[in-house]
Subunit: 386 residues, 2 copies
């Protein structure tokens, strides 16, 4: 097991009607900017619940944060924060709204000239404006971590940011929100959380026995509840395990003391930036090719995964490992998610070269748990995903 | 899954040489009281490492906190805190030293006349003097939770306390300390952590699928590393998983959203108070009787445990459940731990009645996940443990 340092101070309020407990979590006399997305919260009752719960505070609203939170829109929100002397941010939404709010938390206290530099220079944010979240879509885990991904249409970029100052003060997780989520989004959430775990698990063994088992626990739980929640979003038992699994998949716990990969995400982000493909679906496109291309490095963990998570008991290490890859693709497909790029766009030719060049242009650091995946490797992986 | 609220702000510094990172974790200009136990840290090098690392701070020492931290001794330390205007506490030791430090953290800021009332009146401590820990003995999980157990010889009492103000600011977990721990203490740590998980898991199903799997993960990991660490305490891989498993067993995570039992601990504490039997061993004495006596309430989870943790695949629910109990007792015995009270004391007759009466005298609340275990039930459970 590798050395690690871990602290996660986010307070979780989980379960039915937890919005009723929001008031003591926000500092008295806060001037609150409530941020949300495309307006689904106005259809499912969450908007009314939140505004009612916040009736003791001065609240200004900012809606319209899109999926893949867009820099230009966030800059509009940043102006409001400064003009209106906002002191507390409340994200009401899924990962995009929460990620956008994290950017604003950082940007509100940023001393530099250009807030884009928080992303471009990958600044570790030590202190942000305090914020809380009301989660409406289980998927990204952003409700209990300190990372965010921001998109800039102007340059077709999608960059990551984070830092110890960007944990939510609190997050309200009421699984009852799941029942009004469209099936497509449920599938995305399941695939996203599943891949988050894989990125922190499917590397090479370092004797993190407990971390491995925790990772496998989340995968097993997602597999167990996936058909239930896909067929009946009002199944509270499935919804609550779905929601808690998504949070635990990326709140930092399972990555402590073990290597992480994240190449699937790094490549997938480019597919979203280029073609607007749903984030989770880009992961499903890349996973099989990535694991097949890097089979030798990952086969031990792939075999362990096949055995423990998918009950594959027969065969050599290699055979089990291959079965693990096949099972993963089949899992994505069972959610109605297509796993080849050509199923999403006709313009797929040349994608591999474009992504490879982008990585090179941005200053190559080497992807994967060994940091050894080159632009040329990425090109091959993406081509295998066509 | 039940509703829950969860926050755990303790920062973990895990791994080799993490003591080197202690300075920024303690507020500048702190006046530190360093607390430790019987002096084993002076033999294993930890004392020198800590005092060297703290050379920038004004440090006063208080050694001699015994196993089952004794109220009268802690009151001596409390006097020093007040006389010397101590502002930060540093526990260097195992669960007893850390628990004692938590009492002092609470008592240092306690407004009442008599600090014993923190325990006697079961006051939820909202704010304590800040403290950190350097863990020297994996077992209790106290390094990442806000609870403590304090003993008072004068009255043969052992009472619990806690509250959100009693999380350590940080805890340093260096698995290299394990190599100098006597085998008896290793066995105790394994049994203690194992039972901590059981107390939060062996109740009845509430659809906490992820919590169940996390609990099973810790149990599986402890079972996997137990023979390794018992035979070779310098096995770093086993030691690190032992240490992290003990912390995760009782840092609050696995109990969120599911019922807890804790009857084994409540009864076990009385055996320590009466006979001075090691805490972990009292748990091993009570577990089988408790699960056998409350078999009907627990059989579903016992069967799940037998299947998932011990690979018992044959038989009815009842047969699997019984196998789960047998396997648990065998596990304790594999650690060299005796599982009957009569193996620890010749004076066991009458113990059941004494404990039952004590619970009654202290105001009966009902033990177990259903709160329905009566003094008469406790009497029977203890008798079955003779």
């Amino acid at each position: 097991m590798n050395n690690f340092q871990y602290k996660n101070p986010t307070k979780i309020l989980f379960g039915k009607n937890q919005l009723e407990n929001i008031v003591p979590e926000i500092p008295e006399n806060s001037k609150v900017l409530m941020l949300y997305g495309g307006g689904s919260i106005k259809k499912n009752g969450v908007y009314e619940q939140v505004t009612k719960a916040l009736s003791n505070f001065e609240v200004i609203e900012f809606g319209g944060i899109p999926a893949n939170p867009e820099y230009a829109i966030l800059i509009d929100a940043l102006k409001i924060i400064k003009e209106k002397d906002i002191t507390f941010l409340l994200a009401v939404g899924g990962g995009s709204v929460i990620d956008g709010t994290k950017f604003l938390s950082a940007a509100a206290l940023f001393k530099g000239e250009n807030p884009w530099n928080i992303l471009a220079e990958n600044i570790a944010v030590q202190k942000g404006m305090p914020f809380g979240t009301v989660l409406t879509l289980p998927a990204t885990g952003s409700e209990m971590n300190s990372g965010a991904v921001i998109t800039r249409k102007e340059t077709k970029e999608k960059l990551v940011m984070g830092g110890p100052g960007l944990f939510p003060q609190f997050s309200i997780l009421d699984p009852e929100v799941v029942k009004s989520i469209p099936q497509r989004q449920i599938a995305n959430g399941l695939a996203d959380a599943f891949t988050h775990v894989l990125e922190q698990y499917m590397t090479y063994p370092v004797g993190g026995f407990l971390q491995d088992r925790f990772a496998e626990s989340i995968l097993q739980t997602l597999i167990e509840i996936a058909p239930k929640i896909m067929s009946d979003t009002s199944d509270y038992e499935a919804a609550s395990n779905f929601m808690w699994s998504c949070t635990m998949a990326l709140n930092g716990l399972i990555q402590q003391g073990v290597p992480s990969d994240w190449a699937i995400h790094m490549i997938g982000h480019e597919l979203t930036a280029l073609y607007g493909i749903d984030h989770a679906r880009t992961l499903a496109i890349i996973t099989e090719s990535h694991y097949t291309y890097n089979f030798e490095d990952k086969k031990e963990k792939l075999a362990q995964y096949a055995t423990r998570v998918w009950n594959v008991t027969e065969g050599t290490t290699e055979e089990k490992a291959k079965a693990g890859i096949t099972k993963t693709t089949a899992f994505f497909q069972s959610l109605g998610i297509k796993t080849k790029l050509s199923e999403y766009t006709d313009r797929y030719e040349g994608t591999a070269e474009i992504i490879s060049k982008r990585f090179t242009d941005r200053g190559w650091k080497g992807l994967g748990e060994h940091g050894k995946i080159t632009p040329s490797d990425v090109e091959k992986i993406v081509k295998m995903s066509y």
